[in-house]
């Protein structure tokens, strides 16, 4: 089974978010980048399936050279090889077009992604790729198993419940917890990752359909109003009469 796992390179969850150039650009200064947390679920599940059924796991990132440390990390966790589409990922539509081009070329059985990138919070690339390729996209899935060699069974979350879906290969799915326990690289993985192939390819055309023109930050809270624990019931009155939320 050939699995393609798409990973996004994102600011660490604890990063302070700032903007430069008159709030027109994200300030990368001092920001630590990680593999998008949800993509780690996709990657680990892909490796587990490969271990159980044979095959290969290829990781794909659409991004600039500064994403390579995290691509290497994915190789250290257990992917076999990697592809980086050398482009500034302008927007989700552009990224989806690049992923589609690579996926069509490689003939993968399964294209796994994270549910959502934690930087641009799009929750969209997987469904775009499914539509561009004309294959099912099951998102967000929290369970993924093979029923037989050509069919997978997934459980996906919907508001207020879940759906059980069976799809034929090939398909796209996006992962979220508790699909598996994300792995961290071990020493041996880190050593072998250095020699695993990382291919850099140029973008296959592609256009963006949106322009990011400006950023802003939410207004700061004015400060917490403390209520004495002995008089905790007072809080409920404040919520009704002052905050007007009850």
């Amino acid at each position: 089974m050939k699995i393609l796992v798409c990973i996004s390179n994102v600011p660490d969850t604890t990063s302070k978010i700032n903007f430069t150039g008159d709030n027109k650009e994200f300030d990368k200064n001092g920001v630590q980048y990680v593999i998008n947390p949800w993509d780690e679920y996709a990657l680990t599940r892909a490796i587990e399936l490969k271990e159980a059924k044979g095959g290969s796991v290829t990781v794909l990132n659409v991004g600039e050279a500064d994403a390579e440390p995290n691509i290497r990390k994915a190789l250290a966790i257990g992917a076999d090889d990697a592809i980086r589409v050398n482009a500034h990922p302008k927007d989700a539509y552009f990224v989806a077009q690049q992923i589609t081009a690579v996926a069509k070329e490689g003939g993968y059985d399964m294209i796994l992604m994270g549910k959502e990138s934690i930087d641009y919070n799009g929750f969209q690339v997987h469904n775009m790729v499914g539509e561009m390729m004309g294959i099912p996209s099951v998102t967000p899935a929290f369970k993924l198993d093979m029923v037989d060699d050509s069919t997978a069974r997934l459980e996906r979350e919907i508001e207020g419940g879940k759906e059980v879906v069976e799809v034929k290969l090939p398909f796209v799915a996006s992962a979220q917890q508790p699909m598996c326990e994300p792995r961290i690289p071990n020493m041996r993985g880190i050593m072998t990752a250095r020699t695993k192939p990382l291919k850099v390819v140029e973008p296959a055309g592609g256009e963006a359909k949106s322009e990011y023109v400006n950023y802003s930050k939410p207004e700061k809270k004015s400060g917490v109003k403390l209520i004495d624990a002995e008089n905790a019931g007072e809080l409920i009155k404040l919520l009704r009469n002052e905050a007007k939320v009850l």
Binding site: E131, S137, E159, K162, Y215, S216, A229
Partner: protein, 326 residues
Amino acid sequence: MSVLVFVEGLNGEIKKSSLEAASYGSQVAQAMGTTATAVAIGDVHEEALAKLGEQGISKVLYDADDRLKQFVADAYVKVIAKAAQQESAKVLVFSNSNIGAAVGSKLAVRLNGSLATNVTELPKMDGGNFIVTRGVFSGKAFADVNLTSDVKIIAVKKNSTDIISNAGSTATVEKLSADLAESDFAAAPKETVMQDTDGGVLLPEAEIVVSGGRGMKGPENWHLIETLAKELGAATACSKPVSDIGWRPHHEHVGQTGITVSPNLYIAAGISGAIQHLAGVNSSKVIVVINKDPEAPFFKAADYGIVGDALEVLPKLIEAAKALDK
């Protein structure tokens, strides 16, 4: 040219998040000097559809095909694309739900449109621009995005739009049929299992959320969270470690790697307020924190706080909530 809103139903009624999307769509239509049409699928009563007039919708297209009672992406896309074509829709509005965002993303490809998900404000239209504001960096920032294609697709973040209600206005309801083929149902779910909310409120739709963390000590104390939630008409939620240990089900876990909520009121008991937790709740309008440690980081993000033992404070809140006239 018109604005098309996709509305989702649940048990015959229209979801609150879809009433918000309808209100958003009719305001966009008004600004553009046109009308807003809604498209509905599956499990909704016709009376509920006509009532969308209150949100400023003039017409509703309804596909009553029984097979659409459960969510089947390809079939939904086909129905909505047909409605969009029929109405010459230039702006399509969805709720930013798992269903709305999925269908919106696929339609962006099919209709060659620009998509913005997680949108928090009405568009600014001038000089040929169409700029929407969307939440980015997991609640830590907003971005203004210009949608450059002819067709614009917007998925509206829950609880970020006030619901309009022009009492008494009704929409006309027309049947729509998209001539669906068997193949459109190839990826139909085998089974759909809805959570038993026990008459309670669904977390993603909730206006009030009562949430517990590790400071609640154990599942045996959750009756306090549940009782307060019931008194306030709230949904219950929890922090990640709480669902990881199995005190609560995973679908209740909020935060960076769980679900994002933006209720009017979020009450957190025994939760430290780690940055990854805040990412899922920081767009709540009012935040209340109950924590025995006055240094807990959550107090910095809170509007109201009580420093104390949650196991003693919650019963007092329940008592006060019971005394409220509802």
